[in-house]
Amino acid sequence: MLVAANCASIGAFLVLRQMAMMSDAISHSVLLGIVIAVFTVGGRETVPVIVGGVLAGILTVSLVELLYRTGKLKQDSSIGIVFPFLFAIGVILVTQAGNVHIDAQHVLYGSIEFVPFDTLYLDEINIGSKSLWVLGSLAIANISFIAILYKELKISTFDASLAVSVGLMPVLIHYLLMIMVATTAVVAFESVGAILVIAFFIVPAAGAYLLTDKLSKMILLSVSFGIISAVSGYLFAILVDVSIAGSMATMAGAVFGLIWVFAPNRGLISRWRRISKQRFDLDVVILLTHMQDEFKLHRKIDSSSIANDLGWTIEYSNKVCDFALNKKFVEMGDQGDLNLTNSGQEKIHHYTA
């Protein structure tokens, strides 16, 4: 839960800054930092591991920017080159390491056996002692980071040039944010693993982004989605005996999917409704203009001739005609033919003007 909350709060900024894949890169390459830290210190203390991970994270970001700034590679290409490279080095170091038995697979789905700085089993989310403290202090750090720099983050996210002009140093804020991402990634590593960290960074934030326009609300929503998916994922994993991290990510995806479909304004359903309503509205106008044209040629019109002329099915043409009759855009003549009313004229005028 704490992991979820941590990641989700920062994730909001990543999604808005279009740097979602940067978190992907960072979460992969912290492996290198962690491995090197374990080698140099020889132990599994928390502090050096975090420092190593953060340094690797900064290295990743700077390398990506360096490649990108030269203008020879696009940003996404440079991300896609830097992190597999660092990750590959990390994996080779891990597999070559005789003294520290680390299984490379566990890097990815965050089994506790890999984790160099904790000896608890995967249930640490519930019973965790040391890691709970680490995560707790990280949560406090993250919250205070966002709280103190909220204004600065907001301005530099939405309007970088304004931030420069009022002297806020967006570059510094950018790197601070990246440091927080790296720290969170390292700490989150132990419970959810490299790739599933991304699920917590991006997915809840993206879901929240579909629901609200306000940054503060988005962060709160994002955190609650993160927690919901963590808890439900945990329960599901216990129930069917699968990887906890995996099922948390799946749950995060399910939550996002629900939001995607049902979100009040930006969901698929409301979008589909809006589009079909617009289409219907347009068809009504097409009907009215069609009638106008036909009247100029002194032809009579009823719903079956409309269906014929406009290429609609009879049912649809009846539906549109009924709607137009209801709204009094048209009126029924003596022999069942249709006539345009004044409000119908106005409707056409309203559309074409």
Partner: protein, 317 residues
């Protein structure tokens, strides 16, 4: 001494049964992904490959769950279906919501991967040891390639190339100027879908050799390296394929020299090294020559300044 060692490793390709297939498999992957990667790089979809390769994982799990065998073709089919599905989901998210491409990629990548892990661990809990072979798709296991696998990979790769050669012109237009393509009556939508499918096949080949995580480097790095040398698309494709194939062979040779060194990461490091060399030494755009050229220009400029002011003819005479 060193030369002799290198030579003996090189000779290993012809004599050592395992190494031959490993090198061949990696080379096939390198050539295919190198050529196709050009399109992803040029279309600014570099990380698309990353999302696709992660999204393929649940497919492997489900294919195994349904079929109950570790037949590589079936697993590949499952992987391809899910990678494709992942690609569609990503495109759907970007086209129906205001979420940008990067976040959409991140969503697909992590959620599908999570689902994949769920399947793999589920298999583990019900099937015991028999699922061991499935784990290798995470990091790939080129070292485990056997003749049958290599033949399968070869057929898939050949299929990719046939499509690539037939539709080269169409792909080219869809990549560089899709609205122009549309105006000429090319079905650019379908072409993009076709291109995505071919990339999916390359990704599936890669799952066998370098694995889910490092696949993205095999798509991007050769293309990015080739781009430094050449600007024509056709030649870039060829060079990129050469780079990819080369790094496959060199990488598998290096990894064969050390006990227990996994092939995938070594291949990735090799191709990154090729990219590094290209960035520095390419005659047109490399750092080195750029630097030299700048200095020359600077010197020329400073030589010319007195010329202009001193010996230049006065105007209007």
């Amino acid at each position: 001494m060193v030369l002799e060692e290198i030579f003996s490793v090189f000779l290993g390709i012809f004599t050592d049964y395992t190494l031959r297939y490993v090198a061949l498999g990696s080379a096939i992957l390198g050539i295919t992904s190198g050529a196709l990667g050009c399109f992803t790089v040029l279309r600014k979809q570099s990380l698309f490959g990353d999302a696709l390769s992660h999204a393929a994982l649940p497919g492997i799990g489900i294919a195994y769950l349904l079929a109950g065998t570790k037949d590589s073709l079936l697993l590949m089919l499952g992987a391809a279906v899910f990678a494709w599905f992942g690609g569609i989901v990503t495109l759907a998210i970007t086209s129906t919501t205001r979420i940008k491409q990067d976040a959409a990629l991140g969503i697909t990548l992590s959620v599908f991967f999570g689902l994949g892990i769920v399947f793999l661990t589920y298999l583990q809990s019900i099937g015991g040891a028999s699922q061991g072979g499935l784990d290798r798709f995470l990091f790939g296991q080129a070292a485990a390639l056997i003749e049958k696998d290599v033949i399968n990979l070869g057929i898939l790769a050949a299929g990719c190339f046939v499509v690539l050669i037939i539709f080269f012109k169409e792909f080219k237009i869809a990549t560089f100027d899709s609205s122009f393509g549309q105006s000429l009556g090319f079905p650019t939508k379908y072409l993009s879908a076709l291109l995505t499918s071919v990339i999916v096949v390359a990704v599936v080949i890669g799952l066998h050799t370098v694995g889910v995580v490092l696949m993205v480097a095999m798509l991007i790095a050769p293309a990015a390296a080739a781009k430094q040398w050449i600007s024509s698309l056709k030649n870039m494709l060829i060079l990129s394929a050469v780079f990819g194939g080369l790094s496959g062979i060199i990488g598998s040779m290096i990894s064969s020299t050390t006990e227990g060194m996994s092939t995938g990461p070594v291949i990735v490091i090799t191709i990154t090294a090729i990219l590094g060399i290209s960035l520095v030494f390419s005659p047109k755009q490399g750092f080195l020559f750029q630097f030299i050229r700048r200095r020359k220009q600077f010197q020329n400029n400073s030589d010319q300044i007195p010329n202009i002011s001193g010996k230049g003819k006065p105007r209007g005479d």
